[in-house]
Symmetry: C2
Subunit: 411 residues, 2 copies
């Protein structure tokens, strides 16, 4: 019986796993450098953890099912609600701020396509318990520094910043009554024509003056632009974006920032700054996205606990790194291959392997009793850096020579 | 709405995750030292991958369900069948031997109890494509070296070795007709009384002479014991165990080995050596277990591909390490805490953090605008090693001092 892999999930052979681990290592390294601590939450969660805030319609995108004890459960589609659950469970004990990150397998029932999978790994970094522009800027800087750590530069990606309260205030002042459908339209603006966009706005009851102001909104690329635009906005929300922008400049990210008030973000739990990291060419989906969510913990009966966080998936990131040629250097290798000339020399070969492994080297010994030529082919196939041949002579003298397989020289 | 965690799965707060990562790091370090390469397979697999070999009854222990496209799928309960699937998919391209390991989330629908969870992480290490005693010994040594790496010693654990063909030949020579129920009885021998064990054997039609020989079998603790026992066994299978024992001696594991022909292992795909790592006190379940499975790839329509492998779960291992006091040294810490005296000094504080982070340090800066005393309390709560205070003076002079929080001295 031949059995195929399930659709939209991935197998990682050793050469694929090297890429995954390269990404995971960067996630952990940068998060640790910011003092964020790793946590983990279960892949299986009660279904209501996700329907509580997003409603029952979200189940069409979930891997939800009923367990053998009749409990409604789901594979998590994201980790932010789980993080909120962790906060509620220990809210009295936890020292604020909680700076947490996780590397989590997530699952969504979606039509698989390039960069969008049914099973993916998401990096999440959240700072909970404080409500300050510096915490926001630091979280955005953490996200950006991961891409820089992986070799991407300001020519490859940029940060799109927006602010929920700021955009809400502008919309209110333009006197748009029904904001949600307009948000949805803006969210898919990039995928539809200019004409269809304007028609859509008209369908939602916007007049020409309102449409002009929305189009004016899209010309804004910085806080300075917004100040000069003549648009009417909430001063506190503006001040918040300005402060975050200033801190991001301190973090060395000035050239990466764009104020883009068309950034909405899907989840409706965001309350303040929202941001996305995008590749400059716009070829891929967002590499990362997140924002401030000050009311989420409250939804789960916790005390109010403000938070800022973002998610970054492995799939789009790997595609972008591949495209930029940043994965070429990654290759599998083994420090030592120990060839064995005759089974009777295995004992000494094992002894040599033991001592090299104790020193932290990766060592393969011949386990297939092959002839010398075949052993050499294998040593090349695993990209062994050094060769040790153990024959009768070596066993007798309890000594061996190391040959560097790149230079061909004995060490 | 308060939402509780799903039963039998775990939340890992930062202090718990340190323990998990300590175990995962040891798994990866030792596997890499043996030249095994990391792979990963999907958590969701087609249901038939597990029913193909084990039959439909296994579904009672699975998290199986039907997806929204009417496909029968399951969360994996173990990874060995997935490994076989990976081999079949690329059998022509793969260079033998394939030495693969994985760190995999697995799920079983079981009654949760100490060391037995519904969601757990399993380390698997398999060597495929060869059929030699040295490959077997190396795989067993890899498992053992992980426990040694984690600080356990020969006083804490031992290796129970058995061999499927050897025990089959002994049973055949004792003329036991229906071997499977006798295997099942032996498997639960430790949990029932001596009397019930003998009664069970009698119920399965064994006479006194057969029962004597089975009890004789249990007195055997080494290959030498077996040779002297007078029991009648297959010579090749015996030679196989003897060779593996000799190699394990070369690997420095002589004091850890016990020949124990009562080791059966649940999975029926094993064909040769089988082994388990157990704590000496017998308080816990097996820490690791595995064996040779030469026919599994064939079940999935691949060409015959012999293999040896084992699994090791995180839960029992963590309990054992905890009991032996080996987790005490693990604690969260942060290299630097940067206190900020007044928001106006945040820019310079960020600048200092940037430079320390670039050097690979973990650095937290104050993000909550607290007074100095509260910042100091927080620095202690995160176990910060060093303190930097950024005030007006530091910002003006663009310089700062580092205080070692352990010694209290300035650096």
């Amino acid at each position: 019986m031949k059995i195929n892999k399930y659709i939209g999930v991935r197998d990682f052979y050793p050469e694929d796993m090297v890429v995954e681990n390269y990404i995971f290592d960067a996630w952990r390294k940068v998060a640790n450098s910011f003092g964020y601590k790793e946590i983990d939450t279960p892949i299986i969660e009660p279904l209501e953890l996700f329907t509580a805030k997003s409603g029952e319609e979200i189940t069409s995108q979930l891997y939800n099912f009923t367990d053998k004890g009749d409990r409604k459960i789901t594979l998590r589609p994201e980790t932010t609600p789980s993080v909120a659950r962790l906060v509620v469970q220990k809210q009295k004990e936890l020292k604020k701020p909680m700076k947490w990150f996780s590397v989590s397998q997530c699952f969504r029932y979606e039509r698989p396509q390039k960069g969008r999978l049914r099973g993916f790994v998401q990096f999440n970094a959240d700072c909970l318990g404080v409500e300050t522009p510096i915490a926001d800027a630091e979280n955005i800087a953490l996200a950006s520094n991961i891409l820089l750590e992986l070799g991407l530069t300001k020519d490859d990606f940029f940060i799109r910043l927006s602010q929920r309260e700021l955009i809400n205030s502008i919309f209110k002042n333009i006197k748009i009554k029904n904001i949600q459908p307009v948000f949805k339209l803006i969210d898919k603006k990039a995928k539809i024509s200019e004409k269809d966009f304007v028609l859509g706005l008209k369908d939602n009851g916007l007049n020409d003056s309102q449409i002009d102001k929305i189009n004016l909104l899209f010309t804004v690329k910085s806080v300075e632009d917004l100040e000069k635009s003549g648009l009417d906005y909430d001063k506190d929300a503006f001040e918040n974006v300005k402060q975050i922008s200033d801190y991001l400049t301190d973090f060395g990210l000035k050239d990466l920032m764009v104020l883009d008030l068309s950034v909405i973000r899907g989840f409706d739990y965001y309350t303040g700054i929202v941001f996305e990291l995008y590749d400059r060419t716009g070829e891929f989906r967002a590499v990362a996205g997140g924002g401030r969510y000050d009311d989420l913990v409250g939804v789960f009966n916790g005390e109010r606990c403000p938070g800022i966080g973002f998610g970054m998936g492995d799939a789009v990131l790997a595609l972008l790194l591949e495209k930029k040629g940043l994965l070429k250097k990654l290759e599998l290798s083994t420090d030592y291959f120990i060839a064995i000339m005759g089974e009777e020399n295995s004992s000494y070969a094992i002894e040599v392997a033991n001592s090299l492994r104790k020193k932290g080297n990766s060592v393969e010994i011949e386990v297939a009793n092959r002839n010398f030529k075949k052993q050499m082919n294998y040593a090349n196939s695993i990209n062994a850096k050094n060769l040790i041949v153990i024959g009768d002579e070596e066993t007798k003298n309890k000594s061996y020579k190391i040959k560097d397989l790149k230079t061909g020289k004995e060490k």
